[in-house]
């Protein structure tokens, strides 16, 4: 059953790929103008259909795995991150018919794929639930949060599209650097995935004895060649080499090493593309987007956030508080994860007020959408893996 569900996830992945291709064709391929003056061709429709099929397959994965495990597959990093990707695709599938914007599909689909592949870098086996997680509120809370974040992520896509469309890439300005940085971050994720898969396929492992932050001897396994080593590390495996620098004990050096590899990967990809296009990557993408109506994507991104904010608030704060009251005896405990959910909430509240009352439309609003998404990702990755509190998925 678990195997079957994984197959559905794989199918869904390829359908997302198909959707990406169709949306690309819908933009670069031949088109005609219909009566309302919207640019159209069949590829857009095919892209949408592919994304719907992909979402259906992904939901099938979700249900099958739920049945197999006996609890909703949202209880560890792999499962939650995958579901976030699915939720984002679902939000796209819901919003697309309103605006019929193929460009949104063009950006959303690859990001969804990236999120799902990123998720599968974590251990994927079905894990038992510890008592604190055994509650129907796990399902209610986490599913609602992911849906809310998925919808908010469409706001980010709208914002990114807006920036790529309107920013002047001819001169290197702060804005250009900003957009390039967003793209670079995405490349780093790609780099991380590529290196993880390649070294994973080689079963690469280097082990070290080292002195940990409590002053005790311990050992550490690297899954990528050690560019930085642990505190007073001594290589104990045949593979690997002695790294150039070693980190202070307080830093988890194999994680840092992975981060460095990711950045290197990102730099490599970015550099290659830069060589290829001989201009900022955003500037290379921009000509594709000349038919985008900035006002329309601006409104779309605001709309996504106006729709996503209540869902996120319901799941991330209200349901979270109800569950915390039941499981941890208090509805609020200033645990880092809770605080970051609050921060995300406050951030989007500030966004809405800036937009509504201070007239922050267009570019400024788009930057805020990007920051909002960065917060969501920070919450997912950094808070979960680094500032782990009660909510840590690490078993």
């Amino acid at each position: 059953m678990v195997q079957l569900s994984s197959n559905f996830l794989l199918v869904s992945f390829f359908m997302f790929l198909a959707a990406t291709i169709f949306f690309t064709v819908s933009i670069t391929g031949k088109k005609f103008e219909n009566r309302q003056g919207q640019l159209k061709n069949k590829a857009g429709l095919l892209g949408y259909i592919s994304s719907v099929v992909a979402v259906v397959a992904a939901i099938t994965y979700f249900i099958l795995r739920w049945i197999a495990a006996g609890h909703a597959p949202v209880s560890n990093m792999f499962e939650y991150t995958t579901f976030l990707g699915i939720a984002m695709a679902l939000a796209f599938v819901i919003i697309y018919p309103i605006y019929k914007n193929n460009y949104i599909g063009l950006i959303t689909m690859p990001i969804v794929m990236l999120i799902i592949v990123y998720a599968s870098m974590f251990p994927t086996e079905v894990q038992p639930l510890i008592p604190a997680l055994q509650s129907i509120w796990l399902e209610i809370h986490v599913i609602t949060v992911a849906l809310g974040q998925g919808i908010l992520a469409i706001g980010f896509v709208g914002g990114l599209l807006y920036l790529l469309r309107v920013i002047d890439f001819k001169k290197v300005t702060k804005k250009v650097i900003g957009v390039e940085f967003i793209l670079f971050t995405i490349f780093c994720v790609v780099g991380y995935i590529l290196f993880s898969i390649s070294f994973g396929a080689m079963n690469y492992e280097a082990t070290f004895d080292y002195i940990n932050e409590r002053g005790n001897e311990a050992n550490m396994v690297y899954n990528k060649p050690p560019l930085v080593g642990p505190n007073e590390g001594v290589l104990t495996s045949d593979t690997g080499f002695n790294p150039l620098v070693s980190t202070p004990a307080i830093i988890v050096s194999n994680d840092l090493n992975t981060v460095i590899w990711s950045i290197l990967g990102g730099l490599l990809l970015y550099g290659l593309l830069l060589l290829l296009f001989r201009k900022p990557i955003g500037g290379a993408i921009q000509p594709l987007l000349k038919n985008v109506n900035p006002r329309s994507v601006d409104e779309l991104s605001y709309r996504a956030i106006a729709i996503g904010f209540p869902v996120f608030t319901l799941g991330g704060l209200i349901f979270a508080m109800i569950w915390a009251q039941i499981a941890w005896t208090r509805f609020w405990g200033w645990d880092p994860k809770e605080v970051w959910a609050l921060i995300t909430f406050l951030f989007y509240a500030a966004y809405l007020h800036l937009r509504l009352s201070k007239g922050w439309h267009g570019e400024r609003s788009a930057w805020l959408c990007v920051i909002g998404f960065a917060l969501i990702m920070f919450n997912l990755i950094f808070v979960n893996l680094v500032i782990a509190g009660l909510h840590s998925y690490a078993l």
Binding site: Q127, L346, S357
Partner: protein, 558 residues
């Protein structure tokens, strides 16, 4: 403060920007679009600027200030997650040294600045209070005039009002069948569930006005929530206690004034079965067992009040419940949560008495006794005339400056001082053999007096018990918080999933004037216009913002 009379005859409060009735801009502006925020009504904060009260009012009613409060709160909250808060550092650590030792100089600074208790610091509280005040004032400042303006709005609007709307068009010249077009448009709008108002052949179609109250409803929700959270500081509202209950024992539930008792029928821990197909891989990878359940099978008891004082307590069973994580026992506003446990706490020792040398003639074989370590009996008498007394009992023994003492009543390290009387001795006057006994400890204490001890108390059995720890919680603020949260959600949905749209269609001597306004979702308004135009040949309004493609649209700051 003079009132302003518009040419349409309506008298507006001082500070009005668009006539409440006909919408004519009263304060001439440049050519840009009219600012439709709050319908251009006069607000107190825009009008009165003299006294201290005005100044405070104006400060807190400013959205700019509100946003700053939100942003500062956001940054402060983030600051509190850099290092763990004091309540999350490992138990037993001393924060004065912990932060520095663990995080170096930054950690020390963090501690010295009080960030280890950031969320209960006075300035964080102050920020939250400022948020509350700001919410109250800014809402009051806007909701009343907005309500009045929407109620008194007239159907026929001033041409200036119309042409300065974002969506606007005219038919340029008079058309013959203007009235017919108007009727068709009205029909189309009714199909779209618009509310139609007619006046002198002019038309106002409106939909979703109630969504305009959404923000105010949600702000009220937040205020109620904050009030609820504040009430927690009154002890009456909030009880947070902790009880340990041993298997098979009863204890009074703290916080209930001795009314309720809990019996722990059994505490168990279940681990996941390592053979379970579903989880085998994961369990193998982690390599350590994973707990499936912590459970206390508990019986809730209540003191029967039979009116007579001092007749001892009689308890009746109220209910039984298996308390687990995520499944508390609730009664009478209280909840008991499974939070901790202790396995294998010592509960009983069983002893025999034996002779040190084999010479004693008494038969000691029947001497066997059990000491309950929670409430030990002090005297044990046997048929053959022996008598053993407990002189002193230390449930959790330690030596403090050469003096033995007990740390608490929990038998973590029990020591007992026994005195053994043979049948010949008189317990009143004689001194028996005294020894100190514990786990792996057996020391004669008075051998100097008696020469060598003849008898030795030997431990032959140990019984252990499981103990469960439960949190007792009563939170009377919860209903208030629930109400606040619900109102907040309702307001949020009301303001986010519905939109306020208005279409004005006016027939000015055969010339059709069309304008529209939406508080958000202009896309939806545009579609409605397209629909009406497809049914009735009204001029299709253009988005006047699209004419100047400057993407940054700054509306006026308030």
């Amino acid at each position: 403060m003079e009132k302003v009379k518009c040419e349409c005859g309506h008298v507006n409060p001082y500070g009005t920007y668009l006539c409440e009735s006909c919408g004519k801009p009263l304060i001439e502006e440049d050519d840009s679009l009219v600012n439709m925020r709050y319908e251009g009504v006069a607000r107190r904060s825009q009008t009165y600027k003299k006294t201290i009260v005005d100044k405070i009012w104006n400060f807190f009613s400013s959205v700019k200030v509100g946003i700053w409060i939100i942003v500062i709160l956001l940054l402060a909250s983030a600051l509190g997650t850099i290092f763990p808060q004091e309540m999350y550092i490992p138990p037993g650590e001393n924060p004065t040294i912990f932060y520095e030792q663990e995080y170096g100089t930054l950690g020390k600074l963090y501690y010295q600045l009080g960030f280890h208790n950031l969320y209960s610091s006075w300035w964080y509280m102050l920020l939250i209070a400022a948020l509350g005040v700001s919410l109250v004032i800014c809402s009051l400042d806007r909701v009343v005039p907005l309500h009045r303006a929407l109620k008194t709005q007239r159907v026929t609007r001033h041409t200036k009002f119309l042409e300065k709307q974002r969506f606007f068009a005219t038919s340029e010249e008079a058309i013959e069948n203007a009235e017919e077009v108007m009727q068709k448009a009205e029909k189309a709008l009714r199909e779209k569930k618009y509310k139609i108002y007619n006046e002198n052949g002019n038309l106002l179609a409106e939909k979703g006005r109630f969504s305009r109250w959404g923000p105010y409803v949600n702000h009220i929700g937040i205020i109620i929530f904050l009030i609820g959270a504040m009430l927690r500081f009154f002890p009456e509202m909030y009880i947070d206690e902790y009880i340990w209950v041993r298997d098979g024992q009863e204890t009074v539930i703290k916080g209930t004034d001795g009314e309720y008792f809990l019996r722990n029928d059994q505490f168990i821990i279940e681990l996941y079965d390592e053979e379970d197909e579903r989880f085998r891989e994961a369990l193998e990878r982690t390599g350590s067992p994973v707990v499936q359940t912590y459970q206390t099978s508990a019986t809730l008891l209540r003191r029967v009040d039979n009116g007579a004082v001092g007749l001892g307590t009689e308890l009746e069973e109220v209910k039984q419940h298996d308390i687990r994580v995520n499944d508390p026992l609730t009664f009478d506003g209280f909840s008991l949560y499974q939070v901790d446990y202790k396995l294998n706490e010592l509960s009983e020792f069983t002893f025999t008495l034996e002779a040190v040398q084999d010479e004693v003639e008494e038969d000691l074989s029947e001497i066997e006794f059990t000491v309950n370590l929670y409430e030990p009996e002090m005297v044990y008498e046997f048929d053959n005339g022996f008598r053993i007394e407990i002189m002193q009992y230390f449930p959790n023994y330690r030596m403090n400056d050469g003096v033995p003492e007990t740390i608490n009543r929990i038998p973590d390290n029990p020591r007992i001082i026994f005195e053994v009387f043979t049948p010949e001795m008189d317990p009143e006057t004689d001194t028996g053999e005294i020894s100190l006994i514990g786990v792996q400890v057996n020391e004669p204490l008075n051998e100097q007096i008696n020469g060598e001890n003849q008898y030795r108390i030997r431990m032959i059995g140990v019984d252990m018990n499981n103990v469960t720890a439960l949190t007792v919680r009563r939170d009377r603020t919860l209903p208030i918080l629930a109400v606040g949260g619900a109102i907040f959600m309702i307001g949020l949905i009301q303001g986010s999933y519905w939109y306020h749209r208005r279409l004005w269609i006016q027939n000015r001597n055969g010339v059709l004037w069309v304008a529209g306004h939406a508080n958000k979702n202009w896309h939806g308004l545009e579609k409605d216009f397209d629909y009406v135009a497809s049914k009735s040949q009204i001029p299709v309004p253009v988005d006047q913002l699209d004419k100047d493609m400057s993407d940054e649209t700054e509306s006026r700051n308030d």
